[in-house]
Amino acid sequence: MSAPVWPALLGRFSWDALPFVRAWAHPDANEIIGAGAGGMVVAGALFAVALLTYLGRWRWLWREWITSLDHKKIGIMYVVLAFIMLARALIEANLMRLQQASAINAPGFVAPEHFAELFSTHGSIMIFFMAMPFLTGLMNYLVPLQIGSRDVAFPLVNAIGLWLTAAGAALMMASLVIGRFSTGGWSGYPPYTELAFSPGTGPDYWIWAVTLGSVASTLAGLNIAVTLYKMRCPGMKLMRMPLFCWTSLCTAILMVFAMPPLTVATALLALDRYLGFHFFTNTLGGNMMNYANLFWMFGHPEVYIVILPAFGIYSEVVSTFSGKELYGYISLVIATMAIAVLSFTVWLHHFFTMGQSADINAIFGIATMTIGVPTGVKIYNWIWTMFRGEVRFTTPMLYALAFMMTFVLGGLTGIILAFPPLDYLVHNTLFLVAHFHNMLIPGTLYGLVAAYTFWFPKAFGFRLNEFWGRVAVACWVIGFYLAFMPLYVLGAAGMTRRTQAVHEAAYRPWLYIAEVGAVILFCGLAALIVQLWVSIRDRDANRVPVGDPWDGRTLEWSIAAPPPEYNFAHIPHVERLDAFYHDKRSHAPYAAPPHYSAIEMPRNSRTAPVLGLAGAATGFALVWYMWWLAAVGAVAMVVTVIARSFVRDTERTITAEEIERTERAWLAEVARARPIPREIENSTANQGLAKVHA
């Protein structure tokens, strides 16, 4: 490190912290890649600012989106954030595969430190800033609509969760441009991440980005859980909730209980690094096993936090595109609950090899294997739902099918890892990397993208292009098999994970195949971008304003697409499971109500974006030891919360006339639309009015 510039003002910042300066001084491939990545972030930010200024959209962005407390807009913003971060983490994955494929008895083009940063950011982003925001966004968007509610329980808390997540993501991005990120992996294990071994900014970036994300997720979980408990429409008993609501409830409960351990782990690591505490150090009584326990008490349930919503999505998708009620609804609910409870009983399988007794390992190994039971129940239920159903092989359904196959394969390798003696053999190898990507890519990513495809017409009022959707499916599925099946082989052959260079020529073909797979996975993302582009271009031909393009079953399909701000002009009454589906068959679901009444909705608020900004500033200041800015940011957060508590005028009224106007316009669309049978639902004839099949 070179000398700091103005320590009082800029803390430990030095010119050397900028990748551009480093690339100027040492123009090798490694530094140029770093500078290129930083340049992309800067260029992207400048482009966004310039575009918004050119289009004159700043005021619109602030009023309609940033300060909005509408759960639907917050949900969409979460998903947008997730897609941006997915792009970055996927590029990093490609770089890593390329490095390993090119570094067989050769140095490759990325330096070891840089490679370590890549796998640390890839993991941290994919979990905390891709999967978590994506699923939180989906839950935000869908849960109130599915339970017949106008809003979530705590709209402001919801917005604060979004903007704290964005603050964490901003720190991740800042680490590309200013300073370096952690080399300690996504789990940030001390003592390596302690000051003694990692004195730079890296672990601090990791700590504060993850802390912001975990606090935000705790808030999101709290909000979703209370929404599901307290905001259901009349008649929506727990056992009448759509399965996605059940999985959201379990996920939310897991967030409430499993995010605090992460907050504790990162906070104690921060105490070690900043104030010289000895929780996890090698000396003076510190014990890193405390960290392993704390981290995985979060980390294991986290696996189910990211997978359970996907299970809910697949349940909705399979049932809708099979035209059948979900087989074994009750057993699916029980299985979901069982998984949520069991998820807290297995955390120790993440450190079988760290020296506890054989008995403890055996107990946790058995506990781990039991998770296969409720998961198996679910797989059978989905298969039975399709059985004798009128299955339509649409894009979301293809994801569901690919998931079922692939996830079972991954589950079997999980059973191998759950045997402590076998785990000893493959623990720190690519076998483990293959296993968890095998679970998380079909289990989470396919589910999230399936949900995006499935509910996109609901959110935006037009369908996504089916052809490019299928191209994306093909890329994700083929790419996955090519990228990760070789890793099982390599892992079983003993190739350790997090390796920057390889000295075994026999690995070469497998590494090449994996690299091709990574490129194809990247094509999957490219196909999604093309799909979005084509769909926006052709949106007029693909509009589904009536709101029910797939002959949907649950309440969200019973309203306009996109839904009005207040969701339901009249709060529905529900008599049974899949209420809307049966309403369509028993009576007219789109009848105009006798009268409309005014609705109170939360007014926009600046509180959440201000808190996000202050949170990002505090985190950044702590990373760089700019103590004055950290103090300003922290005080700003407290003052903002107190000031907000004095605001009384927090609601605005949507008048009955306005609602009547909106609803009448929609009902006119319904009257104009032609009912569409399922066979041609992907044609431009589909305006979102499903033909009722007996």
Partner: protein, 208 residues
């Protein structure tokens, strides 16, 4: 869902207005969920403390640092403050007694600040013996757990001040009433955590 089934067991927030009662029930339930989450944080710090107890690294030990007198006094002060907050809640029930409500909240605030003063004095005492968090794993665990409770008390004191100001400005409107009830839950929660600290940190430390 019938109204009766969801009505919360606490104080009526707005007599007769079913919707406000529903809102109150939701808001208080949400705060219970938050407290559960916070309780997990304390539970983990207790567990960490338990594991780190022997890790004194040749430095100060529980027996050498904990003093029953001041700690018992702190306990008395904090438990009394829970009683006085209870009195404030009773005053809240009768909308006319704003002065009594303010007075009881002021007493609670004073007791909270007294507790913090006593605790800081204890910490300073320990630091004077060289019992600082950087000295050993055991002391790190102690200073991770006990001052976090203190920070919560500090936040509670700030919250009491804010609520007193809001009472003066808005009177006991529904939002003030709900927030005082949330504050009450928070304050009693801190008492419970302190009882756990007193009985699993200080008492066994003194017996040893």
């Amino acid at each position: 869902m019938s109204m009766d089934a969801t009505r919360h067991a606490g104080l009526p927030v707005d007599h007769g207005d079913a919707e406000a009662e529903m809102d109150a029930s939701r808001d208080l339930f949400g705060f219970w969920v938050f407290l559960m989450s916070d309780a997990v944080i304390f539970a983990l710090l207790f567990a960490t403390y338990g594991v780190m107890l022997p890790a004194t690294a040749g430095g100060p030990t529980p027996a050498s640092e904990y003093k029953i007198g001041p700690t018992f006094l702190e306990t008395l002060v904090l438990l009394t403050s829970s009683l006085t907050f209870g009195m404030a809640t009773v005053a809240l029930k009768h909308a006319a007694q704003r002065r009594a409500l303010l007075a009881w909240m002021a007493v609670t605030l004073a007791l909270g600040l007294l507790f913090l003063g006593l605790e800081l004095h204890d910490f300073a005492d320990m630091a004077a013996h060289g019992a600082v968090p950087a000295r050993s794993g055991f002391l790190s665990a102690f200073f991770g757990l006990v001052p976090l409770h203190g920070l919560h008390v500090l936040a509670g004191c700030l919250w009491i001040l804010v609520m007193m100001a809001q009472l003066l400005i808005f009177g006991p409107d529904p939002r003030v009433r709900i927030n005082i009830q949330r504050l009450g839950l928070f304050w009693h929660f801190l008492d419970i955590i302190w009882i756990a600290i007193f009985s699993t940190v200080y008492l066994p430390g003194l017996i040893r």
